[in-house]
């Protein structure tokens, strides 16, 4: 445990994440320009998608793939339901629904960091998990909104209706969710990698494979800057009127990472996934979305407060998962499957 834990802590990507956190708290003016940050995240989705597709092309589509995808979808549908009911006591139903969607969905960078961890410790993982990740981005959004409407959020929604001439119907939302930019890029790259296989990888490896870890370092540097800024914002007078205390937010964000991770771990073991795949499913469960879901919530639930759901996912759950979650869950998987 502590071995893997330490070697994860001192891996270049993690250390660059810490560097970003340090820079923010030290009030350094270190900054990654916004278009560059977006370019690197496009790169990571493009690369992981293509790698996954090539891996998939190597092994024939077996029932394992279907089992994995099934487990992923089950997880994505299950998590938002209990998250919603667990938090309604703390939050307005709009915020509760937003949190349900956030934690039911996933963080691609957390997933990428986990695959990088597995590659580092030399444990194989199934390329189809890239597809599983992509599939898990959207469903929680729909579940969250469904719960929200059941909980009597309808008035607000019908208000929407008038205000925006039916623009946010469920169908519309589904489309927006499944055609979200990152989903399209991941699945598209996966498909292209799958079509081109090893021959394609030979052509693209110098871009999608070799510099991958380095790019991840640069991205995590930026994530460190961004996450720390939001942490600082929580304790900022400006944020005084926030409806929930910083303590509650941090506590919940950690609790959900652990709870959802454990649920996912259970499903992984029941589905009999191999070690690497089990860790990936677990970390997908433990992770929360800070890109796709917030973007959708802004449209569908503008009354929900990003200062809550976005901050919890980005500033607490994300750092916890890449720093502690990955080696911790890996340790548990080994212990339980032994």
């Amino acid at each position: 445990m502590s071995g893997a834990f330490l070697s994860n802590l001192t891996s270049p990507p993690l250390l660059f994440f810490f560097l970003g956190v340090f820079a923010t708290f030290a009030r350094s003016d270190l900054d990654v320009p916004n278009p560059v940050a977006r370019a690197i995240s496009l790169y990571l989705l493009f690369a992981i998608g293509f790698k996954g597709g090539v891996a998939l092309s190597a092994s024939p589509l077996s029932s394992d793939v279907l089992i994995a995808l099934g487990a992923a979808l089950l997880l994505a549908a299950l998590v938002p339901v209990y998250v919603f009911f667990l938090v309604t006591r703390f939050f307005s139903s709009a915020n509760a629904a937003a949190l349900a969607a956030t934690y039911g969905s996933i963080s691609a960078v957390t997933f990428v960091t986990a695959t990088n961890y597995l590659d580092a410790v030399g444990i194989s993982w199934g390329g189809h998990f890239v597809a599983a990740m992509a599939l898990m981005e959207a469903p929680a959004i729909v579940v969250g909104l469904f719960l929200y409407r059941r909980a009597g959020g309808d008035t607000e929604v019908s208000a929407d209706r008038e205000a925006t001439a039916e623009r946010t119907t469920i169908q519309q939302l589904l489309r927006e969710a499944f055609l979200n930019g990152s989903v399209v890029l991941i699945l598209g790259s996966l498909l292209i990698g799958w079509i081109n296989g090893e021959a394609g990888m030979e052509q693209l490896a110098p871009l999608v494979k070799y510099p991958f870890v380095g790019m991840l370092c640069l991205f995590l540097l930026d994530m460190g800057l961004v996450a720390a800024r939001r942490i600082r914002d929580i304790y900022d007078p400006r944020a005084g009127e926030r409806s929930v205390s910083a303590k509650t937010m941090v506590a919940l964000a950690l609790a959900f990472a652990l709870l959802n991770g454990s649920v996912a771990l259970l499903i992984a073991l029941l589905a009999g996934l191999p070690e690497g795949d089990a860790l990936l499913l677990t970390i997908l469960g433990a992770s929360a979305s800070y890109i796709a879901v917030p973007a959708a919530m802004r449209l569908a639930l503008p009354s929900a407060n990003p200062g809550i759901y976005l901050t919890m996912a980005l500033a607490v759950t994300f750092p916890f998962n890449i720093v502690i979650g990955i080696p911790l869950f890996h340790y548990l998987i080994r212990a339980l499957s032994a």
Partner: protein
């Protein structure tokens, strides 16, 4: 130079397309759009330098010669601001006719 109204609307990025349609529907299809704006308001702080791209505002500038359209625009914009937050300012200006 003819008198006109200068309308300045700040909305978040995700509402921009919708606002554009509202303007067109109101018969004022012409505008200038400044993206990647940050800001601070009731909904708190918007940084516009995040990886998460949800923190960004847009500024629409509309020069309106036919002031009778103003009410229609305002009525179209109000629900958007109600829903997404933002700001709409109207002031007098003179338009250089070319």
């Amino acid at each position: 130079m003819r008198p006109c109204k200068r309308i300045e609307i700040v909305v978040e990025r995700s509402a921009a397309e919708r606002l554009e349609e509202t303007l067109r529907a109101a018969g004022a299809p012409d505008y200038t759009l400044l993206q990647n704006a940050g800001g601070s308001g009731d909904r708190g702080y918007r940084r516009a330098d995040d990886v998460t791209d949800t923190d960004e505002n847009c500024v629409f500038i509309v020069a309106l010669e036919d002031e009778t359209l103003l009410d229609k625009i305002v009525e179209g914009v109000r629900p958007l601001l109600k829903r997404f937050g933002g700001m709409c300012l109207v002031s007098d200006a003179h338009w250089l006719i070319h």
